[in-house]
């Protein structure tokens, strides 16, 4: 194995490869609750060519490779279950192109959401991308690979739906372009009008290749952005509120939050509506439309709009939301994890009831943020529980609660988002057998030596 280390040094330079205990420790775990497993090596390539060389080496030596971005999925997707190489992509950090008219950006695999946000604000202030609420170190590519959602998902779907092209190093080392960029110098489409091969890589957690470049659609960045807050204490109304708001096609982003503390939050559902416009008139019109859509609840006294005071507005408008991250310190323990099924919006009351039931059963702090996706076609509902990393018993309880939440979500017709390896098996057990067989064939075809992030999406 020392030969592998030396070979990696030759490829990336000695400063950017480690087999030392400290890096192996850190890269062997994530902030969630999945058990750790250490890599043998951590390597940080700078170029696509270096990625290719590493993959070729890994094939020769039959060494597993796990690509890693920000490492914030929380479900262990970048824990190298069978050791080998963790490939930290964050040195590939160039923003290669912004096409103003076709409205897309091409980035290398390590570009973070934070860096792209900052870059667009400075150089293309009328354009924006869909920023997730994960911390800014989350990378564009990894977020797309796990079908992440962001602040534009209500209007435009999953962040992976916004991909406009890929460059991929296949598990056997060949370089491949996907979408319009495979025949044109423009990265405007990941598929149409060609066969859409992006599905071979998006959602596969790096098990079918390593994305080295990605095109992402950009959207208008309106001059004004504001937030409205609709409050109801009736969970059963939430899905209809969402449907009515989505119907207006006036709302950029809709998030429903539920949490038991501070006490004023308990039993209430805060529906945050984000409105954008290029003029006050546009904003006022959109607000009026949203207001009128929900007037029925005001009249029936089932809910109403609440004033968003200036002291809290900045935190609601922040992208990414630091409040999401702060949940990890609620129990002063440095941990939270969530099971986040993608589900029809009418499942909201059932999921909420389960969230509270599990929190009570396992004595955990909970929180939920449900993000509406693609005009209300679905939502991501998070069963979030905090835990204290210095309290093994609480960690165990949180893990059991999350396992039960995932099981429940599946029973209730949801599909688990970024599932951990156990949840992947739960999903595949329910999957149509022919779909499962197709997945197996795809994997075997692309990764004959089984080196790519082994253990994930492993069809048994």
């Amino acid at each position: 194995m020392s030969d592998v280390y030396e070979a990696l040094q030759k490829i990336v330079g000695e400063d950017y490869v480690s087999n030392r205990a400290e890096e192996r420790y850190f890269y062997g775990r994530d902030p969630g609750l999945m058990p750790p497993h250490e890599p043998d090596y951590v390597v940080m390539p700078k170029t696509t060519e270096e990625v290719q060389e590493i993959i070729k080496l890994a094939n020769r030596e039959k060494v597993p490779v796990t690509p890693k971005g920000g490492g914030l999925a929380l479900t262990g997707l970048v824990i190298p279950l069978k050791g080998g190489i963790v490939m930290d992509m964050k040195r590939m950090d160039r923003i290669l192109e912004v096409n103003e008219k076709a409205r897309y950006v091409v980035v290398e695999a390590g570009v973070t959401h934070g860096a792209l946000k900052s870059y667009l604000q400075k150089h293309h202030p009328h354009l924006r991308h869909s920023i997730p609420d994960s911390p800014p170190i989350a990378t564009i590519v990894a977020n797309a690979v796990i079908h992440g959602q962001g602040r534009l998902s209500q209007q435009h779907g999953f962040n992976s739906d916004m991909v406009s092209g890929l460059e991929v190093v296949l598990p056997t080392g060949e370089l491949c372009r996907i979408g319009s960029c495979s025949v044109s110098s423009y990265w405007f489409s990941k598929g149409a009008p060609l066969p859409d091969l992006s599905g071979l890589f998006l959602g596969w957690f790096g098990t079918t290749g390593i994305i080295t470049k990605l095109g992402m659609k950009l959207y208008p960045c309106k001059k004004i952005r504001d937030v409205m807050l609709f409050l109801t204490d009736k969970a059963e109304l939430v899905s209809e509120v969402i449907r009515k708001l989505a119907h207006t096609e006036m709302v950029e982003d809709i998030v429903v939050t539920a949490q038991p503390i501070p006490l004023r939050f308990k039993g209430n559902f805060y529906i945050l509506l984000y409105i954008t416009g290029d003029s006050e008139e546009e904003i006022e019109f959109k607000k009026k439309m949203a207001w009128e859509a929900l007037m029925v609840y005001f009249k029936s006294r089932d809910g109403g709009f609440v004033s968003v005071t200036p002291d809290v507005k900045p935190s609601f408008l922040a992208m990414p939301s630091k409040d999401t991250t702060r949940f990890a310190d609620v129990s002063k323990g440095g941990g939270f994890e969530y099971s986040g099924p993608i589900a029809p919006i009418d499942k909201y009351p059932a999921y909420l009831e389960k969230l509270e039931e599990l929190a009570s059963k396992y004595k955990l702090f909970y929180s939920s943020a449900a993000r509406v996706i693609d005009g209300g076609h679905s939502m991501m509902f998070s069963f979030s529980y905090t835990f204290n990393r210095a309290n093994p018993d609480e960690m165990k309880r949180a893990k059991v609660a999350l396992d039960e939440a995932a099981e429940f979500a599946l029973e209730e017709d949801g599909v688990i988002w970024k599932p951990n390896i156990n949840e992947q098996q739960m999903v595949m057990e329910r999957m149509d057998p022919n779909t499962l067989m197709l997945m197996k064939k795809v994997k075997q075809l692309l990764d004959p030596n089984g080196i790519m992030n082994p253990g994930n999406w492993e069809v048994k």
Binding site: D15, A21, F26, D88, S118, P135, I137, K322, F336
Partner: protein
């Protein structure tokens, strides 16, 4: 000081990574992460590794110690961490270092730093009798002087620091205020010793300094270095230190406002680098800029990362001597030198002897020394007073 409780708190880090960034997320603002790029060198990495060490999940190693000591304690993480414990992060790291010191498990370069201060009273192993060699007849502090000018180890022994000290002395002389230095009686301020975790030696130095200040009846101290300013401001009172304190940029700004010094016209485009121990530690951002803006003919331009988002030069926590972040184009000082050059400035102004040395060397390494002059604010001002 939260150091003692660090073991009971350090698990609270979620390793979310906000600590790596400046406020606008435009780049990486943690000097050691920027230099090495393994997550283990970020604040989150460091805190997780310390916790692993405390739990016995990793053994001590020289590499682990280096990871801990490549933190420059610049406080960018404190600024950016979204959690309630953010103000305590540096204390946690210092606490872990203190434990390492007690166990005798520190990097050799840090050990040599301590040995030099134990043996010579400075990290350079220079003779105490040479501590005032720079001073060129500057009078020693005597009862009745308004200010004690505390020069510090870099001002006393480092070539760049000495130039800076001489410039400041000339300006103060020109202003007519009464002041004096301690000369060979001056002790190390202890700021770096504290940050490196040698609490016993730190206490000894502070007590000696406080005793000396008391004996001499010192009521006002002006420091050359932000590092000395920081520890005297924030640590000395707990040891009985009782005096008015200012950094020299505060004093010079005051003298300019009162018309006691009046710089002549210059022609320069200047960018200013905020020292961590002046800015993030003590919220002094305006006075150095006001001095530069008071000089006719100087155009002040900002680097992308400035004020609370300023990128550390890499010299803090004794790294101006231990140099654990050196050896690469990604070394913080070289990154900062390039950032300064990108502003189009012809002069990079600093207000700290450590920054002066780090950035002077970096500008040379970047082959920019004929395009970008690195000068301390005292040097810039002194040249213009001389020209008057």
């Amino acid at each position: 000081m939260q150091q003692k409780d660090y073991a009971g708190q350090i698990h609270r880090c979620f390793r979310c990574g906000y600590c790596k960034f400046p406020t606008d997320y435009s780049s990486f603002n943690c000097p050691s992460y920027r230099r090495f790029r393994f997550d283990s060198y970020s604040t989150g990495g460091r805190l997780w590794l310390i916790y692993a060490w405390l739990k016995g999940e990793i053994e001590w190693s020289e590499h682990f110690a280096e990871i801990l000591y490549t933190c420059t304690t610049c406080k960018n993480c404190t600024e950016q961490c979204p959690m309630k414990f953010a103000p305590d992060i540096v204390d946690w790291i210092v606490g872990a270092r203190s434990d390492m010191v007690e166990k005798g498990k520190i990097p050799p370069r840090v050990a040599r730093f301590f040995e030099a201060v134990y043996g010579y009273g400075n990290p350079f192993k220079q003779l105490r009798s040479d501590r005032a060699a720079w001073a060129n007849g500057t009078k020693k502090y005597a009862a009745g002087d308004e200010y004690l000018l505390y020069v510090g180890c870099l001002g006393s022994y480092d070539e760049n620091g000495q130039k800076m000290a001489r410039s400041l002395v000339d300006i103060l002389n020109a202003s007519g205020i009464s002041f004096g230095i301690l000369g060979e009686e001056e002790e190390c301020c202890g700021n770096e010793i504290y940050m490196l975790g040698e609490t016993g030696l730190f206490q000894n130095l502070v007590e000696k300094n406080c005793q000396k200040f008391k004996e001499l009846g010192v009521r006002k101290i002006v420091t050359l270095s932000p590092h000395a300013y920081n520890t005297m401001k924030n640590n000395y009172p707990a040891f009985g230190g009782s005096f008015e304190l200012c950094h020299y940029t505060q004093l010079l700004n005051d003298l300019i406002e009162k018309n006691k010094i009046k710089p002549s016209r210059a022609k320069a485009k200047v960018t200013y680098h905020d020292p961590c121990f002046l800015g993030r530690y003590n919220n002094i951002y305006d006075e150095p800029r006001q001095i530069l803006q008071s000089i006719p003919g100087i155009e002040l331009v900002e680097m992308e990362r400035n004020r609370r988002d300023a990128f550390c030069c890499g010299g803090g926590s004794g790294n101006f001597v231990t140099d654990l972040l050196a050896g690469s184009a990604d070394s913080p000082a070289r990154v900062r030198a390039r950032e300064a050059y990108e502003t189009g400035a012809d002069t990079l102004a600093v207000a700290c002897p450590s920054c002066l040395t780090m950035l002077t060397d970096a500008v040379k390494a970047e082959d920019l020394d004929d395009k970008l002059a690195v000068k301390d604010i005292s040097q810039i001002l002194e040249e213009l007073l001389s020209a008057k």
